[in-house]
């Protein structure tokens, strides 16, 4: 064998090391993939496809009376800690000079009080106001899943974005990634938390708690892949919008009756 110098020795050994590492990894992943494929094929061939369910959520801001029943129901249903919200209601008040006042006292947990007259700021007489309930948008191109380093955020086959709280390490990347501010770190558990569209209820055929208690049907939930469902009809018959469409996250929570002042 040819005599080697130090440089050659090092390059060769490091090279072999890297190759072994990559190869080992490859073997692992391929084995896994093969297994996946097998189980997938098995499940596909065994039972025929059940009826397809894609959940959708529609908020009709023209109907909302700002009573906060949804906020209280949500907190009770999901044990949301004091001071945090999975859903909340904002009141938008538009003034003639183009200014917008947004308030949400305690997330509207106790409802609203009349807007105080605000003489110093001379905003004038409000000409337009309404309530906008907010909740997780369950985006199609969601940033929160993309940033999760441990695979704790995921999308189910119904299109619901969920958090695996056993896997979550509480790094809060997703909290910062969400442009709608719907995620928070649960101080009791130390992990991320957010609206699940009451996945434990909706998979049993119940409505989400906030929809259940809404007295004026401002919140509508249903299966959007069924063209005869209430929500599909409403989506067809109305002009619907989403929040912050310019961000391109493609939210699945739609709104009726928003205007450009709402953020």
């Amino acid at each position: 064998m040819k005599k080697m110098n130090r440089r050659e020795f090092l390059t060769k050994t490091v090279g072999t090391g890297v190759k072994t590492f990559v190869f080992g990894n490859l073997v692992c992943t391929t084995a896994e993939l093969l297994q996946d494929k097998k189980s997938f094929a098995n499940s596909a061939s065994k039972k025929e496809e059940p009826e397809k369910v894609i959940f959708g959520f529609l908020v009709d801001t023209r109907k909302c009376i700002g009573c906060g029943s949804c906020v209280r129901a949500d907190k009770a249903e999901n044990g949301v800690p004091e001071g945090f919200f999975r859903t909340w209601v904002e009141r938008y008040t538009f003034f003639p000079n183009g200014r917008v006042l947004v308030d949400s006292p305690k997330g509207a947990e106790d409802g609203f009080w009349p807007v105080k007259e605000d003489k110093e700021r001379t905003l004038g007489k409000p000409y337009h106001h309404y309530f906008v309930p907010k909740l997780c948008n369950h985006c199609i191109d969601t940033p929160c899943i993309q940033v999760c380093p441990v695979g704790a955020s995921f999308e189910t086959k119904e299109g619901v974005i969920l958090i695996d709280q056993k896997r979550c390490v509480g790094c809060a990347y997703c909290v910062q990634a969400c442009p709608f501010g719907t995620r928070y770190i649960n101080p009791e558990k130390g992990v991320a938390d957010k609206c699940t569209w009451c996945y434990h209820r909706t998979t049993q055929g119940l409505k989400p708690a906030c929809v259940e208690v809404c007295p004026v049907k401002a919140r509508i939930f249903g299966n959007i892949s069924d063209s005869e469902s209430e929500i599909s009809k409403l989506l067809r018959d109305n002009r619907v919008q989403v929040l912050k469409s310019y961000l391109g996250t493609r939210p699945k929570t739609r709104y009726i009756g928003l205007d450009s002042g709402v953020i």
């Binding site: 050994t13 590492f21 109907k63 009376i65 938008y92 695979g151 969920l162 434990h200 049993q204």
Partner: protein
């Protein structure tokens, strides 16, 4: 020549490292991770199994038939739109307790309405921004006073919360 035996050792070390990696990975990555996607498949079932708190008005019917009949009757104020649990809070805990299941006492899960003023005015106070159709009270003080001048403390002194608008 000189390096020959070093190769062997190095190979041994590398195989050791790779084995450690595979072993550590098999421990750290949960069994069902990646079954349905880049996540733990059993997390779905764990979330599905969370307890349901809002059970719906039909569940109250069995034990509170009187209130249920009033509330669903033709003279009802809220014509089935305002559910029991919107005023009373979620009933899951209450029902479990009444069925004699061993369950912790939780004062927050009490269904009693302590102050009808608070509950009713959340929905019936006149607010800027409320849509037209909603029955709203601009002046609570005036509304709470009988024509003869006596002032009432509670909404339920004059209204039956479950049925016809005003007590005769």
């Amino acid at each position: 020549m000189k390096f020959e035996k070093h190769y062997g050792r190095l190979l041994g070390v590398l195989i050791g490292v790779a084995a450690c990696f595979v072993y550590a990975r098999s421990i750290l990555v949960p069994k069902d991770f990646g079954k349905l996607g880049h996540f733990r498949a059993s997390a779905i079932d764990e979330i599905k199994a969370l307890p349901v708190q809002h059970v719906g008005a039909d569940k109250c019917k069995d034990c509170h038939n009187y209130e249920y009949e009033q509330w669903s009757g033709p003279k009802s104020l809220h014509k089935q739109k305002v559910k029991c649990e919107a005023c009373h809070g979620p009933g899951g805990h209450h029902i479990a307790k009444m069925n004699g299941e061993p369950i912790e006492e939780d004062p927050r899960r009490d269904l009693k309405v302590p102050d009808s003023m608070v509950v009713c005015s959340r929905c019936h106070l006149k607010l800027t921004g409320r849509p037209e159709g909603q029955p709203m009270l601009a002046d609570l003080n005036k509304h709470m006073t009988e024509p003869d001048g006596t002032k009432k403390e509670k909404c339920v002194s004059c209204h039956n919360p479950h049925t016809q608008s005003v007590y005769p």
